[in-house]
Amino acid sequence: MTITTGPDTDLVQAALEQVWESMLYAVAEPVPSTAGALANGLEATITVSGAWNGELRLFCDAGAASQMAATMLGAPADEEMPELDVHDAVGEILNVVGGSVKGALEGESRLGLPQVRPATSLPDPADCVAVSWRGAPVYVQIVSLPA
């Protein structure tokens, strides 16, 4: 699928489904997007520049992030993961989602390196795709930026 404008939620949802299946061994069930606070959360950001300029931003709570990292690293699900590993794993999830999205855009685009930082609030649900990770929502927001 090649699209000429920026990514849409269907494209991001498809990328999330691929990543959930191959990296997290799970099904990415869609869940309703809701706005609000994120008591102890993480935000990963990756830039896409070129034919479309923007960012993909992933939000989830720290517990879900730790469990995703444990799955990727082959650690027991209840093992508390070091922050460095959690940030790395969440960044890599968004990196692969971003790569899939970029690959579907028409024209030459460039993917940045993922950045991960603490987050305290959720993005506007209108721009988001939300999928479930073991019952916890994981949000990916599409943000268009000026060229």
Partner: protein, 129 residues
């Protein structure tokens, strides 16, 4: 048989490493191209294959492929890009620079094993090749 995994994500190095270890490879890791060159220079027994990410800080995967191909003593190392870069022109560039195979993330363990089989990289049980 040895394999070198070059990726700036530790989680991805672990995922690839798990698949290769189950396949019978001994693995070494590097977090970017420059570190990979240092690892290769330190090795007496070179890897049969290097799995190389494209987007990495310091030195990216394409630069690493070019650097490895410029060293005659490393000509026997099979180079496989393992990357999110899925566009046709990227694949062509990597193969033109000297990569032998190309695997797009996300991938399944079976997809990686298929590529290894295609390249004839099958470790001998209990043996060093």
């Amino acid at each position: 048989m040895r394999a070198l995994i070059v990726d700036d994500s530790r989680a991805m190095r672990r995922i690839v490493g798990r698949i290769l270890t189950e396949r019978g490879f001994e693995t070494a890791e590097a977090a970017d191209g420059q570190e990979a060159i240092a690892v290769l220079e330190s090795m007496d027994d070179l890897p049969a294959v290097a799995c190389i990410d494209w987007n990495m800080p310091v030195m990216d995967g394409l630069e690493l492929v070019t650097a490895i191909r410029a060293r005659p003593e490393w000509r026997d190392i099979t180079l496989m890009m393992v990357t999110t870069e899925s566009e046709q022109d990227r694949i062509v560039r990597a193969l033109a620079a000297g990569a032998h195979e190309y695997l797009i993330k996300p991938f399944t363990p079976d997809a990686l094993v298929e590529k290894l089989d295609l390249l004839g990289l099958v470790p001998t049980p209990g043996g060093v090749a």
